[in-house]
Symmetry: C2
Subunit: 738 residues, 2 copies
């Protein structure tokens, strides 16, 4: 290399690599990769997707159904035909299907809930009801109970604080809760903890019905008969087969007894439509609900208890059922032991056109295109594994069992897991490990919105600028170069990869403009999807473009495209949030306790109403956050040092790559989070009392939120250790790379 080319090379290192080159690729290989991606795009085909969508959502195909098994085979055959090595991996899992579902109001008037959804001539798919799972909540316990109703709003912890101020509790009562605000399983879990004997969950039209927009079939929203099915398994404790936590549910696996399965609800639960909720809620008395609790039914909402009294009776067939995961492998040409895993579930609650088939067809299109490229000589350098999971809906069961079953191999070989699920029209949403933040930002800078022709990133930033009501997000959208990818809680199949094993993961979807209340109802059909959610599957193509690029780049990058600047910045933000949380809780507690003690509440409350001041809360001590702060400082410094490693080494350094892709493992602790050993990730977890909603640095955050203040500093120390390990690993990578 002469001086001039050295100058040029340095120039490119400093100015070009970041501006133009693909993360993890040398300049030459970047160009090659870009050409590959341009070819890839040509193979992605919405018409094919549409055919698959129509076929795979032709009839109900839940786990255990004949159509489900057929779909697995169909997917398997497709993948095989494209050249993948395919295996259908079977697990023997406990799946409840309903035998008895009865809900009857017995006072002050009689009403027998229909518990059924209307077939609509406008949507022929809804006439296909053979094999249809009726509305129920999977992993509700069996039970026959009778009691007065108490309206618990969304059934969240803060809702019970409000009820307490009205002197109302659910002890011995049946809680009726609105869907929304939390993962549904939280509602019976918390109601049960508070002494309720049963839970009814319904979709209020204010959240998911005529209040939001025209209802199906006139519009996309939930009509009066629609019921959201869904699992109420205690997934924040552990997901997957309830009898085999931590291990694969193979035929011979050692199983818990039914009674040891703590993730089954303690009390019976049943979901209903707002048509069935109306007579029950109308019959309630007691105090009128606080204004922010109101729904959109044409009644005055009351808290109860009673006089509405109901009998709830649910009983299930608890059957060991085979879940069929389709696992398709394309061996890497250079690094076959480094695996990029790319999954989407295939089981649906019913026809499941949006959820999950709209994501599945993008995955299939991607798999086909990549196979095509391979056939043309561009075989990926790393191994790609396409997975079509079964039994996701009932509790991430297919993926969890496979992950548990293959834990050791995965810990060793898995570079990343990329997930998709239902897709829709609108803006790109990426959640995932923040070591992938820059990586995904680069991708969405390079893929354009299919309608507006500007980059996905520009669209998303515009959206955040105009529509976000978070100051942080607004500020980020103006001033931060990269869009923050969302930390992942739970809700789809990335959970076992990310939170159980510490495999860098991401979840990709479009949404925000395709609307509807078809989720988990009879109306999640091909007709609904193609009319309301993604007509022409044009965002299905976008999804394949984004996910396909992510897969291909992870598979082909010389240096794995992980980056730590964004990660460090997000961790710093989380630590700021934790301190802010403690500070604001401390201040609010002091003020509120003072106002209780000095009679301010009493003076402000209506003496003619039976509303009490809040209860005195334990004061929030000051916590020593310095271990976390010091760890974050190290992390920021290490991340900065890593940024200086701009040049991709043409001699691929396998040690660097190995250190890179196993870094996410360091975010786990084998002991797991307090009270839920299965969840081992110390940076991201689904909230114990929110379910899907993420808690970052969860052990600390939940100790504060749940006012277990004596746990906080210990958890700060443990979390700081995790962060320190990451910083040290980054330093080791830098050394290994030089």
């Amino acid at each position: 290399m002469n001086k001039f080319t050295l100058f040029l090379a340095l120039f490119f290192i400093n100015h070009q690599l970041f501006a133009e080159d693909l993360l993890g690729f040398s300049i030459d290989n970047s160009d090659f990769q870009k050409q590959l991606e341009a070819d890839y795009d040509k193979y992605v085909n919405s018409e094919e997707m549409d055919d698959w969508l129509r076929y795979l959502s032709r009839e109900p195909h839940h786990v255990g159904s004949l159509a489900g098994k057929k779909n697995a085979e169909y997917i398997s055959n497709l993948l095989k035909s494209w050249g993948y090595e395919v295996e259908i991996s079977e697990y023997h899992v406990l799946i409840p299907t309903p035998r008895i579902r009865e809900l009857r109001m017995i006072a002050p008037s009689l009403y027998e809930a229909t518990l059924d959804e209307d077939s609509l001539p406008e949507d022929p798919s809804t006439l296909i009801r053979e094999n249809l799972l009726p509305p129920y909540n999977a992993f509700s316990t069996d039970g026959k109970v009778e009691g007065e109703l108490v309206f618990v709003n969304y059934g969240m912890p803060q809702d019970y604080e409000v009820l307490e101020r009205y002197g109302i509790d659910v002890e011995g009562k049946i809680a009726i809760a609105k869907y929304g605000r939390s993962w549904r399983g939280i509602k019976p879990k918390l109601a049960g903890e508070k002494g309720a004997i049963g839970t009814i969950i319904y979709s209020d039209p204010a959240d998911d019905g005529f209040g939001v927009g025209d209802v199906y079939p006139k519009g996309p929203f939930k009509n009066e008969s629609g019921v959201q099915r869904g699992s109420v398994m205690d997934m924040p404790t552990y997901p997957g087969d309830v009898l085999t936590p931590g291990i694969g549910a193979t035929k011979s696996a050692k199983r818990l007894s039914f009674n040891e399965a703590i993730t089954i609800t303690k009390i019976p639960v049943l979901p209903i439509s707002y048509r069935d909720a109306l007579p029950l809620l109308s019959a309630m008395e007691g105090p009128v609900v606080p204004p922010e609790w109101r729904g959109d039914l044409p009644i005055t909402y009351h808290l109860g208890p009673g006089p509405a009294k109901v009998k709830l009776n649910v009983e299930f067939n608890w059957e060991t059922t085979v879940a069929y995961n389709v696992i398709a492998t394309l061996k890497g040409s250079k690094f076959p032991d480094e695996w990029i895993i790319r999954g989407n579930h295939h089981d649906g609650w019913n026809h499941g056109a949006a959820d999950p088939i709209s994501g599945m067809v993008a995955l299939l299109s991607e798999a086909k295109a990549i196979a095509q490229l391979a056939k043309m000589g561009h075989k990926p350098a790393r191994t790609i594994i396409y997975a079509a999971w079964d039994a996701e809906e009932v509790g991430l069961i297919g993926s969890t069992e496979w992950v548990e079953d293959h834990a050791n191999e995965l810990r060793k070989h898995a570079v990343a897991y990329l997930n998709t699920d239902g897709n829709s029209r609108g803006f790109v949403n990426i959640g995932g490990s923040h070591i992938l933040e820059r990586f995904f930002n680069q991708i969405i800078e390079q893929v354009n919105d299919p309608i507006l022709g500007i980059s996905l990133k520009q669209r998303k930033q515009a959206f955040l600028r105009i529509n976000s009501d978070s100051e942080q997000q607004q500020d980020d959208a103006e001033n931060r170069n990269d869009i923050r990818i969302n930390p992942l809680g739970s809700g789809s199949d990335y959970t076992p990869f990310l939170q159980h094993l510490g495999i860098a993961s991401a979840n990709i979807a479009f949404g925000g403009e395709g609307s509807g209340g078809s989720y988990h109802t009879l109306y999640d059909t091909y007709e609904h999807f193609t009319k309301w959610r993604d007509p022409g599957l044009i965002y299905g193509v976008s999804l394949a473009q984004v996910a396909g690029r992510a897969t291909l780049r992870l598979a082909n990058a010389e240096r794995l495209p992980f980056e730590f600047g964004g990660f460090a910045d997000n961790i710093q933000l989380y630590v700021d949030q934790l301190e802010d949380l403690a500070n604001s809780m401390r201040e609010n507690t002091i003020i509120q306790n003072a106002r209780i003690n000095d009679g301010t509440y009493k003076a402000a409350l209506d003496p003619n109403k039976n509303v009490m001041p809040p209860k005195i809360k334990n004061n929030v001590p000051y916590f020593n956050f310095s271990p976390l702060r010091n760890a974050v400082t190290k992390l920021v410094n290490s991340a900065n040092d890593f940024k200086a490693l701009t040049k991709v080494n043409q001699e691929v350094n396998q040690e660097v790559n190995n250190l890179l892709y196993t870094i996410e493992r360091l975010m786990t602790r084998n002991e797991g989070l307090p009270g839920r050993e299965w969840y081992k990730h110390y940076i991201y977890a689904p909230g114990y009392y929110t379910g899907y909603g993420v808690k970052t640095i969860p052990a600390v955050r939940e100790a504060i939120e749940q006012r277990e203040f004596d746990q906080v500093e210990n958890q700060i120390n443990l979390s700081a250790e995790v962060v320190e390990k990451i910083a040290a690993r980054i330093d080791a990578i830098i050394i290994a790379a030089n």
Copy 2:
């Protein structure tokens, strides 16, 4: 006086006078006054109030009704019997009553609006319908129109900005608006300005119906048939008789022709119930309304236009009607030429138990008790005039005509005007001239809540601490000694006194815990009031205690109890708000225009929906606020100097008192506010586009809000002159007092 007593006297001046003594009273006279007030309280009697309430609300008693005239005579006779010199002062005013009210949907389906309220066996008063004014909006113009409906939310300026983004206008259409958020007259005024040919106003159950609480008769809220009547006269231009602006509507007064009466609406208006609104709104199509526009009817709300098409036909009897004001005088024993005027209207839309009789009976009780004290030798030092106004509901007509008719005497003699109107249970609300802020704070420190036994001020502060969502109010409730009294906009009879003549005024009411949607409906009955709003009239007694103290203290104080510290502090706050308003509008305009120009809006909007970016707005220049700032500095200094005038001079200084009570006159400018000469007060005015809602330093504030930026500095200068005059007057008072 020896040295020790001098020390004591000084001690009391410094430490006691402010802590204990009544504002404007020497120590001796304070004690006397307190005793007088203790005696006064003994004469205030809820049983008597209850009798009067029952009688005065026995049947509909609007202006022009026989019962209205009878009520005036009854009130007059009572006052006479207690020793007042009573006159019934008559004005000949134009009052429209409905002849034709028709609303018919003619497409896409047929519906004939009932336009009627249901009589309820549970409330015998609602069976008394003779003489009942059916639901209508007084001072709607006559008109027969036919057009498609457009849903305009609350019909406020910002609502039309939203419609514009959907490409929807009301040109040639009929606007259907929800009651609330603004004074009702704004809705047709603005709709008319935008080209609508008619306006329908309805009460949405989300604001005033089952959404809020149980409906009448089960609960207090508006049932499906209830309709809020009310005036839609353009009161922000001028209130009172539409034909005699600025002058008393005596029999011989020179009148405008009907066509010159600009305060009559330009387009026909009709109020309807939510029962009648439901079929109309259900039949509308077009875009679904934005989420914050939704109401609580069990439908998806659409913006239109159409296809719902209605015929609206309203015609009125435009008759010259006699309004009977009852004016009762008790001559002052020492300063008969200084008048304390105390008023409440007596006309109701229907039975009018809450509005206005609940306030009227407190006034009567007060008048009786004060007369009793006078008989016992404690005649007030100043003249007290009790007024029972007629024709308030249709447009503050009785009071306005009397004020206009007596303008010269009032300018000379009126010390203050104290208003009450409907009363309810709960917290004390005082609005008024801020030179009365300290005065009223002292009173509410000394009157206790009838249930909790703590002072009204403590209760109110507790309420603001716990319930206010304004940071300013929260902060004030923690840190400011005095509760800020609210600046007055409009909505009751203080308007002509305060805003036309510059007479220091206040409006006193309790509320916040008595609930209901009976306002201006058939259901504003004795039964409703005594069950839901103030059972036992215990807050009626509190109202008499507060208003009676205010009347007695103003009547007896040696030095008139005006104070300027609170006034200066509030003016300073208003100027801060004006600067903040200009700054935030400037910033928002820059950001929004930039986002329009750089395509951010376009990128964020759903390309499948026809929603456009906002329109470019004119940039907000920087304004020279220094004249106002300098004037406020002078005001603050003068107010501080005035505070040093602690000692009440035993030799009453009439010059000081005269300078004091005419100080509010200096807040007016004879030219009036821009575009509405009748409103002369330069500190307080009802908003031109809010109606009841106050605008402080209105000429400046509205020039900014309405983006008439070339007017702002001129109005700053004029407003500054007003503030300077007040400061100079305070200085003159200090000189006169020394």
